[in-house]
């Protein structure tokens, strides 16, 4: 297996060499580089990060890739398949290991790793409530070698164009499928995040698509034709689980997998391969663990029990955001105090706690601090942090998969729910509704809710009922930090970064940057980076130099005509004089100055500059530039004029 995989990848590496030669750096880096290869000598699967990239590659590069494969393999080039997803390897252990919140990886990676989940099982993994009556929930842990197949590469169906992928029902004939496709493309064209009204229908169709195996671009000619014919591609990127659904049955899965690899094998080999893949699958099941608990998932539990019996969810809390690391000042004192009270007595009178304030002022930090505190006090507490985009995305997926009940159960079983940036619920009606019911359910059970937004509850453009719920508990504001707080924030951040920041340096930065904490952090990052690089302690000079790049003015596009006008104005002569043949000093000096400025400030060629000054030779321009440089040394007034005009033109 390992060897085969090597072959596919080695072959792809060779292809890459040619493609890199043939394509521009830009196209290669945009469309080819993100592809991941896997497979064996029979099949090369290329995984794109999303549906759009896959389609693009299919349209523009698939043909060439296939040619290359044919040329590179003497006898039998492997089948080429395009899919969406990621290879199941820890591709970069370093970066993952260094991630401060590796738990945040779980939920997303899960999507790719649970290649064999049925929809319900996928949901079970997401919302870790053991489904009733299910014998075994298969949940995978990301990055385990367990799930060897990419979730989204689905077995090939020779006569089904990919475009219909997860949206359309399975079809028997190509004709029918095409008709359907145009339908789906019409409805789904509008958005990636499907509008919620459409979701139920989609759910229906995807459910039907169990047997649809149209998920891969295959290397058959027929396929080629089909995909060429489909210019109207529904751009709706499938949610991974949708595709997984097609693989629901592990046995079927194993069978189709092997079927593909079976070409050219003896019957005995085929049987062996089949039994092996079934065995591997069973092994995987055994190894699979709950991403939420990290514990092996020990089969059935009656899920109708209370929340306490449930495995604890991954809270998505950032452990660095605590009350200790939160810098208190006049602008956020009250909010902090209230948050602290909520943390000590969750589900009490301040429910929901609504924190509002401008961007980058610490709302999210405060929210995490409460969550972390609750978690610390009661390790059993089920706390969940989610931003509203995530809530919506999860819900959309749940709707598509028909796992909305698991979704609801999961969210309604929490002890504390923290939802960030709820203003992004705007115009997502279905999500608002679900969120409303979730809120109600939790509030009735005296579970703590914390919400943040950039504006006051009444100003958020959401459903009135929701708005009034927001205001039920306590609403607190965080204001922009005043100078002292900004200094304190900088000192704290420097402290966390183990960098010595003198007080006067902190004051200097805090005086210059008045907006929000992210700006402060950005500036401090830059100062620290430069101090490290230059091996120089932080002082005012270093800061001034570092912060130049943050505040430098965007440079204008300057044209030669612009320069000529400015220079003529400055010397009170006419532009026509600059272009004329006259060589009196009163004209020639300004002309030389203007030429030198044109060379300095534009990227026109010297001949072009010469032409723009009344058709002069480029050597004249060169001479002018040298002359002005020399004169700046000798004559202060020329130096001043030069600097003045330079400033004027670039300001």
């Amino acid at each position: 297996m390992g060897l085969m995989r090597m072959q596919a990848q080695a072959l792809w590496q060779q292809c890459l060499g040619y493609l890199q030669d043939e394509l521009t750096s830009q196209h290669f880096n945009t469309w080819i580089r993100p592809l991941q290869a896997e497979g064996d000598e029979h099949e090369l699967r290329l995984l794109a990060p999303n549906r759009f990239v896959m389609q693009w590659v299919a349209d523009k590069y698939q043909h060439r890739i296939r040619e290359l494969l044919t040329d590179l393999c003497d006898l039998q080039p492997p089948h080429l398949k395009l899919g969406i997803g990621s290879r199941r390897t820890v591709s970069n252990p370093r970066s993952k290991a260094s991630a401060p919140a590796p738990d945040s990886l779980v939920q997303d990676n899960l999507v790719q790793t649970s290649g064999f989940s049925t929809s319900a099982q996928a949901a079970a993994a997401r919302y870790p409530k053991p489904p009733v009556g299910r014998v075994q929930t298969r949940q995978t842990k990301p990055s385990t070698p367990a799930a060897a197949e990419p979730s989204q590469v689905i077995e090939e169906a020779q006569d089904a164009p990919i475009d219909e992928k997860p949206l359309a029902a399975p079809k028997k004939t190509a004709k029918k499928s095409r008709a359907q496709k145009s339908n789906t493309s019409l409805t789904s064209k509008s958005a990636t995040t499907p509008s919620l009204d459409q979701v139920p229908t989609k759910t229906k169709t995807t459910k039907k698509s169990k047997s649809a195996q149209a998920h891969l671009l295959t290397s058959t000619k027929k396929q080629d034709k089909a995909s060429q014919a489909e210019h109207q591609v529904p751009l709706l990127a499938p949610c991974p689980e949708v595709i997984q659904e097609a693989q629901a049955d592990p046995k079927h899965q194993a069978k189709t997998q092997t079927a593909e690899a079976n070409k050219g094998r003896t019957a005995a080999e085929r049987i062996q391969a089949y039994t092996r893949s079934v065995r591997e699958h069973e092994e995987r099941q055994r190894q699979q663990r709950s991403p939420y608990t990290g514990k092996a998932n020990t089969s059935t539990k009656n899920s109708s029990k209370k929340a306490a019996a449930l495995p604890k969810a991954n809270s998505q809390l950032n452990l660095q955001h605590t009350f200790d690391t939160f810098v208190e000042g006049k602008s956020n004192q009250l909010a902090r105090a209230n948050a602290r009270q909520v943390a000590e007595k969750p589900g009490g009178i301040y429910n929901p706690l609504f924190i509002h304030g401008g961007v980058g002022l610490g709302k999210t930090h405060l929210m995490h601090a409460v969550g972390n505190f609750i978690q610390q006090q009661n390790p059993q507490a089920r706390v969940m942090y989610v931003n509203s985009e995530r809530f919506v995305a999860d819900m959309v997926k749940a709707l598509q998969l028909g796992t909305i009940n698991e979704f609801k159960r999961f969210y309604r079983s929490l002890d504390a729910l923290l939802v960030d940036d709820i203003q992004f619920f705007v115009s997502k009606e279905r999500s608002q509704e679900e969120f409303f019911y979730t809120l109600n359910a939790l509030l009735e059970e005296n579970k703590q809710i914390i919400l943040t937004s950039d504006r006051y509850p009444k100003e958020i453009a959401v459903d009135e009922r929701l708005k009034s719920r927001f205001g039920w508990g306590l609403t607190v504001a965080i204001d922009p930090p005043e100078l002292e707080t900004r200094v304190a924030i900088l000192m704290k951040k420097a402290d966390l970064a183990k960098v010595h920041l003198p007080a006067e340096s902190a004051l200097f930065i805090a005086q210059k940057i008045r907006s929000h904490v992210r700006d402060l952090e950005g500036a401090l990052n830059r100062v620290i980076a430069d101090a490290h690089f230059k091996r120089h302690p932080i002082d005012t000079d270093l800061i001034r130099d570092s912060l130049k790049d943050l505040f430098a003015v965007q440079e204008k596009q300057i044209g030669i005509d612009n320069i000529q006008r400015m220079v003529a104005d400055h010397y009170k002569i006419k532009v026509a004089d600059l272009l004329s043949k006259r060589r009196t000093r009163a004209i020639a000096r300004p002309r030389q100055l203007a030429m030198a400025l044109a060379k300095e400030l534009t990227s026109h060629s010297l001949p072009e500059i010469g032409t723009a000054f009344g058709g002069r030779d480029h050597t004249t321009v060169l001479h002018a530039c040298r002359k002005i440089r020399a004169l700046q040394q000798e004559l202060p007034e020329i130096r001043e004029d030069w600097q003045y005009l330079l400033r004027l033109l670039t300001a």
């Binding site: 890199q20 990239v53 290359l68 990621s86 751009l235 907006s515 980076a529 943050l550």
Partner: protein, 243 residues
């Protein structure tokens, strides 16, 4: 000369219609980027690739300062580290729609070029905002370039604006004439061309002086010198470029 070798090689190893891939390409890499006054920036870029610290790097500069080169070079370098990356030139691709961003947070590195091209469009700003959050949550690398410092970008969504300002920010300093000469010679060497100071200066004094124009001239000269089997001399350059 190497190109001749390339053709000779061809028949022996692979079918005739394929010329062997020998990496004689003009790809943007860190090795062929003349850092000039951008050494600190390049150092941080390399560090980001190695350690994911900074997780988010923002570089800005005016046209022709080499931003796109750096972003593509980062993608190129990430390939050597088994990182999965993607280059996203928004000026060219914005019209394709935000579907393009779907699922990209799975990648180890995303290089977004010309971010200003989509700013002001609510749907793009929100999509970028969410992508930013997801990349940050996963500690995946983000490299963004724009034509102005974050504070001066025409961002409407404050949430995005504040995030764009959050990273490590560097201005890409354009090359001066002397550095341009060096860059031209570096690129020529990489193509197997000999380009002495005198000829390089001759080119610089006659060609439009934007780097991409200079490289274009070099490419043309490379082809001309190959087909004419002549070295790059002033008379040859003059003739080939019709200056």
């Amino acid at each position: 000369m190497m190109k001749m070798g390339k053709q000779k090689y061809t028949g022996e190893i692979v079918p005739a219609q394929l010329s062997l891939s020998v990496g004689l390409r003009d790809d943007a890499t860190l090795a062929n980027f003349l850092a000039g006054d951008n050494q600190v920036l390049v150092a941080h870029l390399q560090q980001q690739l190695l350690t994911c610290d900074p997780q988010y790097l923002y570089i800005w500069g005016k046209k022709d300062s080499g931003r796109s080169h750096l972003l593509q070079a980062a993608c190129h370098a990430s390939g050597h580290q088994d990182l999965r990356s993607l280059y996203l030139p928004l000026r060219d691709l914005a019209s394709l729609g935000i579907e393009l961003l779907e699922g990209l947070d799975e990648l180890d590195l995303i290089c977004i070029d010309d971010v200003e091209a989509v700013l002001g469009q609510a749907i793009w700003e929100e999509a970028l905002f969410h992508l930013f959050n997801r990349m940050r949550n996963k500690q995946h690398r983000l490299l963004i370039s724009g034509n102005a410092p974050p504070q001066q970008l025409p961002t409407r969504l404050p949430d995005l604006a504040s995030r764009l300002a959050w990273g490590l920010i560097y201005q890409v300093q354009p090359l001066d004439d002397i550095q341009k000469l060096a860059a031209l010679q570096l690129r020529a060497r990489q193509r197997g061309l000999e380009l002495n100071d005198e000829v390089a200066r001759y080119i610089l004094h006659r060609s439009p002086r934007a780097m991409r124009e200079l490289f274009r001239a070099l490419e043309k000269l490379d082809r001309a010198s190959l087909s004419a089997q002549r070295k790059l001399t002033i008379p040859f350059v003059k003739e080939a470029m019709r200056w």
